[in-house]
Amino acid sequence: MSEFEAPTGAPPQRPASPDRTARTRWLRLAALLVLLVVAAVTVVRVVSVTGPPSRDQLRERAGLTGKQELLVGVKDDQPGVSQLLENGAFAGFDIEIAYMIAEDLGFDAPRVRFLPIESEDRARRQARTPDGRYVTVDLVIASYSITDDRRRQGVVFSAPYLQTEQSVVTRADSDLRPTTFNDLAGRKVCTLATSTAERNLTAAGAKAHGRNRISQCIQELYDGKIDAVTTDAAILAGFVAPPPVEQAPPVNKLTNPKPLRHFDIGADGDELWGVNTGPDRAMRDLVNLSLEEARTGRNGKRWRAAFDRYLGYAQQYNDEQQVAVDRQPPPGPADKVEVRQWPWERFAWRHPNQPRTGLSPAVTRVRARRSSGC
């Protein structure tokens, strides 16, 4: 674009032709105008666009600013997943995931209140308080499988946090050795009401009946009233494995327990567990952000510590069935969240105020004592 004709008053050494000079000047003018217009539009856009929201802005939009307590609906009768203990604490994989998410939402352990929730109430997020009232919880983290049917009914799920599959348990002394759903044809099989397993049983010709609590199914199995129980492997594995030695006894004790055996029935499809975050998009984004940071390592190894402590422990007693995939499932395209962050927050550096990488028993003990929810 340069042009080296001498300006007025100076004789050029190599004079350019007038046509070429004029053409160069017009080209330069056109380029200048294009450049200025693009630059002006760009600068105005840079100044006016503020980018995605920050984490604090998301908290504000989700109504968490000023909120003193986070209510989480959880199961209370699923050993290894979520179980209410005699000391008033909840323990299990779902509970650790709930603590992890709550901490990222700005609620430390004493501010998290767990409320037992029934399977049928998970979609509406209705949990019962110790004094008998029903309240709407902020999050439902209750071994809740993500399905299209539930989404169509209006349930808003986060990204998945666990990948497992359906399986079957029978009594160890039973002659039933199922390898497919069809082997359960004509048998009395119990599962959770409104669960994804109920349809499969009906399709296989089993005498299916649903219970609101999986512990009721297991009790019926102990009592010989049914032949098998089917639901997600991660749930059943906790009944097959003995409780950890250091763990307090559960509130809901089953009577007349018998040894159980866990079978892989080759069910199609995965069971992906997600958090019901309610209709608030900001809340869903915050939960997805927490799960993504757990997956990519910014939150240390909290997901891994929870998995090893509960599901990894149960695996050794469930030889024939994989309890769950030992990696956090990746989020779907709709679950990706962009937030404004400081540059140092984008790297997987350990935060100065978050030195832990796992859960120490002492921390768990303190949490348990303060968050009984009772």
């Binding site: 300006p7 100076a10 630059a39 604090d56 962050q341």
Partner: protein, 301 residues
Amino acid sequence: MLLLVQYVSPLGLLSALLIALVWAVPLVVLVPVVLGRLLQVSAPERFDPERSLLAYAAARTPGWVLVVTGALATLTWQLRFLPGLVMLLVWLIALHIRSRYPDRPRLLLATGLIVPVVVAAVGYACLAPAIRSALGHGELATALLLALPPAGALVLTGPVPARMAPAVTRVVIYAVGALMPLLTGAVFLRVPLLPAVAVEVGQPDTQEVVLGEAVTVTDRMTIVLSRSGEVRFLPNDDVRAQVLCPDADRVPSSRVNVAGWPVEDTALEWLMPRRPVGAPDPRCGGLVPLPLPSATPSAGP
């Protein structure tokens, strides 16, 4: 607004204004000089410092002012605008040499072609990863700010058509003059004048945490402009504690950086020693502190 006028000191307001808008000074100085030089080399007969403001700016602005202005811009402009600054300076040098030394073709060749080409090559070599990153993150504006100026440095190293030069320079300076108040206003309105605070209120225990901006503290009251826009007058006897909170608006919106230098940081910010800040106080999220567990009374004799 009246409350702010009453309690915020004029000196503080002026300081905030100057600090927030110091970046505008180089723009106000450099753009008229560049346009004045363009007018001088394109239509010398219209270059009359007595009648034209642009000509006056080009003719009367001393060189050292331009150097100081360039240095000020280098320190106070965000990285994403620095390629634009380099482009302006390349134009300025080329036009200045062309008007000052029209009979030295080698110098003209150096400043009009070689320097811009070298600057463009170096610019693209340094900025290419950042441009790719900006496109990858969908930040088209950032990508344009980084990608356009190196090529743009080649554009304005000589004259434009003589009959168009006065009109073009006038239109451009009018456009810049019209945009400047909007840009400076948009920037200045986002400048936090008051510190963001969380105030614990209640006696004997904290009943509420008021979030907002501290207007002032008198001998009887703590006055807080809450986030909802309401002005709260809190009796000092009820105020148990007060903490400063981070300002969410300051979190950068771009994820692009050039060799570790975030594009929204100025050179001054980049040079400042910084380290990751700790987690903000839970009270900044409106959380009322939990009562400490009471000490177990010791057993009596």
